[in-house]
């Protein structure tokens, strides 16, 4: 039982991080793309020339790699990508506070119908996601995953 506990913890961590990103991507994708574009400009630190491309690509990557992580498909790659995203989001939030003095009501991460988190709340969530992603990257095995099934 004790030997199984770490496996269960990292299984739940995988599901948690995957769900956060898959949901964030999905919520943005079913809404008008202009909403996310506007939110990106509100941070005040992302070069405007990059905003249309980020708004177009990022939600798909969040959904795909989040879903991969939930299913346990290419889990190390997925955790790495989502860990890098968390790190970038943390950097953007800190920069928006320090450089741009941004005072946004919500982070705009989960669309209109979803969770309405403040930048402070999403900052904490990103820190948790980053820590869990780093832990997942260090795992040697991924029980209860597609990866384990396909490698048999």
């Amino acid at each position: 039982m004790l030997r199984k506990s770490p496996d269960l913890f990292w299984f739940l961590a995988r599901i948690f991080v995957g769900c956060v990103f898959a949901y964030a991507g999905y919520a943005k994708l079913i809404e008008p793309i202009e909403n996310f574009r506007g939110n990106l400009t509100h941070y005040g630190v992302i070069p405007y020339a990059l905003v249309p491309a980020i708004a177009l690509i990022l939600p798909w990557l969040e959904l795909i790699f989040g879903s991969f992580l939930i299913l346990g498909y290419a889990p190390k790659l997925s955790a790495s990508v989502l860990g890098v995203f968390s790190l970038i989001f943390i950097g953007v939030i800190i920069s928006s506070w320090v450089v741009a003095g941004s005072d946004m009501a919500t982070c705009g991460c989960f669309g209109q119908g979803g969770l309405q988190l403040t930048p402070q709340q999403i900052f904490v969530l990103d820190l948790i996601d980053l820590a869990l992603a780093v832990g997942l990257i260090r795992q040697k095995q991924f029980p209860w995953s597609l990866d384990a099934l396909l490698r048999r």
């Binding site: 994708l29 809404e31 574009r37 506007g38 959904l63 991969f68 498909y73 919500t106 669309g111």
Partner: protein
């Protein structure tokens, strides 16, 4: 990597893309509001460009967008009909009262001066625990009937009008403020209005002149 592994990944991606496209197709949005007589508007009713804004008086990004709107009026004189719709965000605790106060000013035909004052002094009233006195002070400065204004601040009919605007915004999937619709096309935030909205107005007007 084994072909079976790669094909599984491609299969997952295909299912996700198909799922999102189907759900997005079902998630049909209501058309942006038509020109409404009850809305707080300025500009000629027959103007070729109709801008609808959903805004929150306590939102800093809405304050920042005001110079862009002013620039649009200056650049396209007589061509713009601008409508304001209330969309106080949940995270802004003083916003509902500020929107109610603006509606109360509107009932005394002073919506736009009050609107401008709320944005000019946003940093003041938005940080107060109870901004009612400050909002009354602005009404007094504009020489509004204070008894009527104070009674209006708690009038539930006025609150319902604001909530109706919010509901319209929800149906339009508004996620943040300010959100603008220019002849039905959506632009979110002052930066987007500046970078994309102004060229869109220029292009629309050029097309209108070509067809005339």
């Amino acid at each position: 990597m084994k072909p079976r592994y790669l094909l599984t990944g491609l299969g997952i991606v295909a299912i996700l893309v198909a799922g999102v496209l189907i759900l997005k197709g079902q998630n049909v949005m209501q058309a942006p509001p038509e020109r409404e007589s009850g809305a707080r508007s300025k500009g000629p009713a027959e103007a070729p460009i109709h801008i609808t804004e959903f805004s929150d008086f306590q939102c800093p990004a809405c304050r920042v967008a005001i110079p862009v709107v002013e620039q649009i009026f200056e650049s396209f004189p007589g061509q713009i009909l601008f409508e304001f719709h209330h969309y106080p965000l949940q995270a802004h605790s003083n916003a509902p009262l500020a929107h109610q106060a603006a509606e109360c000013a509107a009932s005394q035909r002073q919506f736009w001066p009050y609107h401008d004052r709320l944005y000019e002094e946003q940093m003041r009233w938005s940080h107060e625990p109870n901004p009612a006195q400050t909002l009354l002070l602005y009404a007094r400065d504009m020489k509004l009937n204070l008894d009527a204004f104070a009674a209006c601040l708690t009038d539930e009919n006025v609150t319902r009008r604001i909530q109706a605007d919010q509901k319209k915004g929800d149906q339009l999937k508004i996620q943040s403020t300010p959100t603008f619709f220019i002849n039905g096309k959506r632009f979110v935030g002052g930066k987007e209005l500046m970078e994309q909205g102004i060229p869109y107005i220029r292009q629309t007007l050029a097309q209108t002149q070509e067809h005339a």
